[in-house]
Point group: D3
């Protein structure tokens, strides 16, 4: 089975870069896949990818070596399994607040006896991408990732982190801020938010889990890597268009 | 943030008209949006819109002032949040029978601390439609609407209506009739069904909620407005095609 | 090969009804196919069907006995052949002004030696719909139809009508009116336009061709049938929505 | 209402053939529908059909007499109801392990009072396919089918089989093997798996339910029919492409 | 009819900005439409928009005041007319080398007697966008634009510019450079290319036509406006993603 | 620029295998690309791929080393250029009967000064697939291929074969048979057809062009390779489904 390059990279002690794909556009996914990112995330929650787009985006990413991840819209086993069948090498589930919710995510990512992921046909896309021995090695290769993004999840951190088979905690700083009664800010330096993020990082390290977080600037991304995060999401396709356009829009204003 | 014109209209004491979009066709949505309806509902339950169609339909509706609503297929938080991210100014959830189910719907429509709606990126479509201050005002602007359409829901009426943050009860007369052991009839005058509808209306008024119902004729719609309903669904895109075609079909018959 | 029911109907001395599908929506096509029309036209010129939609609409129509016709956007052999491969039992080409243009249309509809239609694979959709002996009988079954809709075409009427293999002249009254310097009117009674239509009808009858025309009312359609037209297009999917909505819009106005 | 041909076939004592559609491609569905299968299954779990594809595939299948079934991705009432509204004559739900899960499936397939399926508009696709009396007869016509594919489900067999309104148990041998700690094998002859399959068959017969299973060879399919299975899935669209291509690939190898 | 804001802007002596949409993505089109560009061009030649995407993109642009233009893939009347029916307020045709080719473009953009554009149904999208009096005013409102981009076209400049009804010459500097035997360069300062551009500008001014050109930097765009160009294309959606990503890619490199 | 592996293979004296993709389905294209074919052809003429499907199929093929070819529906420069921009490494144009038609095809495949192919943006898909030096090397890398399939083309063989820049003659035996007044047969042994094929092969060899032909059996394909054909199309996706299904259909028949 094609190995998960992120796992090898982490074992070498290197953090990995990630770009978020929110447009749900396979052509954009293919362009992005050629830019040198270590991994790309197809976002089905706040992004526009539905199932058909997600699958086409995974194909587009497979023209390169970038590792494909999928964020599902909600903790729903059917969707998680379909993302994996389509060839995702990691699934990120939002809004996991309890151990039971985490077990549901991890179980959907693992074939029996470790979990309850359903065995698809031998011709599913994951087999094309990963190889014909996919079913034997998938449990050890695909990443089960949950987002920690609420006060409730903070209270249950050790319980969540202790779920066998879980690979990574992903900090959802915006929702976390709101849940803690703080303002939503890009790369927030609010001490209460920072403290929460540090707690997540510590809990993950204690449980020997990988960690990830969103960043809105290269400086913040570097700082987070220095802090010990294994994967940093640096920008998104939509973010690049928006920031690029606002520069051009300034030109447009001056032109009148 | 762009205000919700339905709220203003109701504050002025006016009922609002609504047309149901069941074809799942963005071109039809754009045509309908130019006909003068106060609001349009993209139906993802019995209609054919999936996520991609829904989003394109909301864009099409946004070329006009008609207020866009979405009926989701089921009480599933991921779908409710995606409809709101895509720019819906109200979400209608079918088959709400209990206070817990209602709380799940309303929570998915509200950012913390009122609910658990997840904060998307600053470039989600809702921000294009509503304005850059969307997150601050969304809780007070988007409508959380539940359908009351079973004997069980009737029994739990006060509990459901009492959920904080709920905006409207929508009468689902067909399912309600079946659940009460009565025949499904357009604009039913069955006394048992009428009594149930009156009970829903009364419970809503007592809890200071808005109310809505489906109508299959202009006369019935007028009667429902007179009765106190704040929003009446008068027809659907598919209904217009079906009724128009049956007239033409008669011509076709005569031509043979 | 499945016979073309329109040909049989005409041989029985009966005019045929037709409805125009402009929305490019396979679901609408399936609804319309169940209303009893003798034939349906997928409009790729002024309607919204592209190739993918056209093919899906032909499948939808094939769930019933309605005869499927396609209007192509322009006199382009590749498009005409693809419509036939997809199972159209007639192709309508707009804006045919000369004998050479007409020969190009008819040639694209006929396998050698009558024309230059390319032989597709034995698994094209037309074979599913029509039967495995499609290639042997297609030349005699599928209709080659050209629209006469300019002053120039009127001048070349006999030449156009004389092209071997042509089946039908379709009057394009709107373009014809404009080309003759008259206003575009639904079911026009402008004597210059009427005279032109009569000339087309006469030329067709002389050349033993079938004739068709658009109508915007049932009364006009009956009159055209009485005049000798073999196929009358009575309404369109978009027309039904528009007229139905305008009634509802009146209700909406009154409700304020 | 159009009767369910599978029910009639079973009443005549005949087993039925089934082909699995995993490509999610309406054109392939139409081709397959012309091959003489008794029934076809649109697979939304391990196959690639999403809602839009599923609906288009059901239309394509409706050009023939093949009975359309849909396997949903997960036990989610909204999806089950949408498949039925779109015209499925049977819904297969994967991973049903308990009586409660089975009741949720069956309830979603039945209008009140037998279940809680929501009544759609009178113009839903199912009415086009089945007839205008659909709502009155649907409960007795559409099949509610659950997959038995885990050790847990085996333990709950009698409970699951006893749910009123359930029509069929579908053996999921791959997942079942894995859950029993056995290797996944096509047409497995592993005695532990065979014993489990026999237990499912026996439980179904006792509860007067129909039974179905997947097969990967014609010989195995015949054996399963002889054993008493009412429906055998013989192959899939993707399987035919894969097996055919591997033959051609051998040629390709030799050509170098 | 909704006026063409570009015409008004030019009459006020102001140049207009333009952004090129090559991704063929309606969501990107909607984002871009909110950035303050005077106009947006849907590119069907080198961009990825096909008919369905183009139409959806025009709808998305119509949620704002940006003027929608379409570049067609080739000088083909059917495609030009479909773009206009879909609501384009200007059509750009590539590779126009002769007066006859130019006449074919302009004729396809004008209803009789000025041209041969076919009259669509009264419910085409252009009517929704522009108003019910579209057909009367379209000839004076929609822009007919041809690209001058070959040595041959340079030789025929006066002939091309003299075609009645033509509105604008659009410089295609890349193809022009290649055709003149020069290297393709962004914002080329090659004297032979510059001379050719100046000749096009002069010919346009002499014939009282508007002019446009592509720019790859804000500085060049300002220079072209100063030189007298009426419309400058400053960047593209794909360009913004590519340039933004290359910055991020540098970060990615450093992170390893 | 990524070299064209077919050219290298031919220079090594090896014939190449090809599979025809007629379903227009990107998932099928990805499956096929993993089977070991030297090249795959996306068929836009008799197959179902439109522009959007073609582009997605080229992306899917790019996950492997198979060389992607596209057959366009007709000799239309806009379509040929779009296929190349999307990353096709060869374009096959059907129905080329004269030197002028051949020159139009070849010119559309070559940048100036060899032809008139339009220079796209630096971010077109072909650059992602081929490399950033695409424009400099494309003329020597992408294959210009014309189909010889009529009596008229046979008469003009030397003229057609002599067009500078042409790479290959592709025998279209079905259309050729019909055009010569012979029956359409798979792998025809009709002496008149065989003689015509030999003439095409001879003319190609004389003009130092490559040759290709369709085959319907492995035996015929081997014979054609032995005869000197450089590329043989052995089967199609749809053919594999059809032949595989007919076997299964036999089982289905026996089961009743």
């Amino acid at each position: 089975m094609r190995p998960n390059a992120l796992i090898a990279q982490w074992q070498d002690g290197k953090s990995a870069t990630n770009c978020w794909l929110t447009l749900g556009d396979p052509s954009v996914a293919e362009i992005m896949a050629h830019q040198g990112w270590d991994s790309l995330t197809v976002d089905m929650q706040h992004g526009q990818a539905d199932f058909a787009a997600m699958r086409a985006m995974l194909t587009a990413i497979s023209t390169t070596k970038a590792v494909p991840l999928v964020r599902v819209p909600w903790n729903e086993p059917g969707t998680i399994m379909r993302a994996l069948d389509a060839g995702a090498y990691g699934v990120i589930c939002p809004n996991v607040d309890t151990r039971e919710q985490c077990e549901q995510v991890v179980g959907a990512c693992r074939y029996a006896p470790q979990g309850y992921r359903s065995v698809g046909t031998s011709t599913m896309r994951a087999v094309l991408y990963a190889g014909s021995d996919y079913i034997s090695h998938a449990n050890a290769t695909v990443l089960a990732i949950v987002q920690i993004e609420s006060a409730k999840a903070l209270n249950n951190l050790a319980d969540i982190a202790g779920v066998p088979g879980l690979d990574m905690l992903f900090v959802g700083a915006s929702d976390l801020s709101l849940s803690l009664g703080r303002e939503v800010r890009a790369d927030s330096s609010d001490p209460i938010v920072v403290e929460a993020i540090d707690a997540i990082l510590a809990a993950a390290k204690k449980a020997k889990l990988r960690t990830a977080t969103f960043c809105h600037s290269v400086d913040y991304a570097r700082a987070m890597m220095a802090k010990g995060f294994d994967l940093v999401t640096v920008t998104s396709d939509q973010g690049l268009i928006a920031s690029g356009s606002s520069l051009s829009a300034q030109f447009a204003d001056r032109s009148e």
